[in-house]
């Protein structure tokens, strides 16, 4: 079961920088490690993260096998207008999770 924690301001002043912090539960199996039976475990990682702020992509990240389990991503973006902020993680084996926070700009 995938779970995610998102910390973003509910309200912000126009022009202000907002810090968005995210944490998602994921094993991030590298694809290089042998399991208990000696066989290499298949890769299972998140490959892509994107943040859409009111329909516009404001932050995107590519993740690689060296990223730790449960990746934490934090970034800043400027508050321009009220709207939904859609955070999407995509990865191997069809993994996809979306979290949405509504941001009100005063």
């Amino acid at each position: 079961m995938a779970r995610a924690l998102v910390n973003a301001p509910k309200t912000a002043k126009a022009g202000e920088m907002m810090e968005i912090k995210t944490l998602i539960s994921h094993v991030m199996e590298t694809g290089f490690r042998p399991g208990m039976d000696g066989r290499i475990k298949p890769r299972d990682i998140i490959t892509e993260f994107a943040c859409e702020y009111d329909g516009e992509v404001v932050f995107r990240a590519a993740l690689h096998p060296a990223t730790s389990a449960n990746p934490y991503l934090a970034f800043e973006t400027r508050a321009t207008r009220s709207g939904p902020m859609k955070l999407t993680w995509r990865g191997d084996n069809g993994f996809e999770q979306t979290e949405t926070v509504d941001i009100t700009v005063e």
Partner: protein, 224 residues
């Protein structure tokens, strides 16, 4: 513990243990398939009913006349609950649920159960702590009492306090209970570790808890 690890533990969005606590909250409120009682059906809102509970575990169990730790208490409760999921020791569900219960005591000083019937078990835990084991012939006390603050192959030797369990360990890239950590140390000194839930572990936990009091509970903590 480095400043960055401490900062990671303090910030609930950075602390990966909070993911487990979140899963534990869902399990707390989840009804078994086909209806029946959830944890919340009897115990209500955990933020009120479980406040301070983890700070006094392991406690004396009337049914078995022995000390029982929090994970075994949850398992015993599940065994009486019709349709409840089976949660083996160290399973993701059990660790998550105990992390959620532990979270309700965060900040509460560790308070050992004063029940006098626990005294012989606590004494046995202390004896286990001081007994050299394994091919390296080291006791817990040899490192965690005598050399705490020193270094073992570059890693800081901690005082061995159990007030943050279950916790997220960076080395594990995951959550684990105190028993998992104790097994780690036992394997490290090349001793044979008892299975999860063994009486030895509960007695050790009991002694460690009295040794750590009154440190505040930090569950879910982050450790290197």
């Amino acid at each position: 513990m480095s400043a960055s690890t401490q900062a990671m533990q303090r910030d609930d969005v950075q602390n990966p243990g909070m993911l487990a606590a979140g899963q534990g909250e869902a399990l707390w409120n989840a009804q078994p398939p086909g209806g029946g009682q959830s944890c919340a059906s009897c115990h209500g809102d955990a933020t009120a009913s479980m406040k301070g509970v983890a700070a006094r575990y392991p406690a004396f169990d009337e049914a078995t006349r022995r000390p029982i730790d929090l994970q075994d208490r949850i398992r015993a409760c599940n065994a009486r609950r019709p349709g409840a999921p089976d949660m083996p020791h160290e399973s993701e569900e059990l660790v998550a649920l105990s992390a959620y219960v532990g979270l309700q005591s965060r900040g509460t000083p560790t308070a050992p159960d004063p029940d006098p019937r626990l005294a012989p078990f606590r004494a046995r835990g202390q004896a286990l702590f001081e007994r050299p084991i394994g091919q390296l012939n080291l006791s817990c006390a040899a490192c965690h009492d005598a050399r705490a603050g020193g270094r073992l192959a570059g890693a800081l030797i901690p005082q061995g306090h159990p007030n943050g369990y279950p916790l997220y360990r960076l080395e594990w890239q995951g959550m684990g209970s105190l028993q998992r950590r104790l097994r780690n140390c036992m394997t490290g000194v090349r001793a044979e570790a008892p299975p999860f839930g063994a009486p030895d572990f509960v007695e050790l936990e009991l002694y460690l808890q009295s040794r750590a009091a009154p440190l505040a509970v930090e569950t879910p903590a982050v450790r290197p």
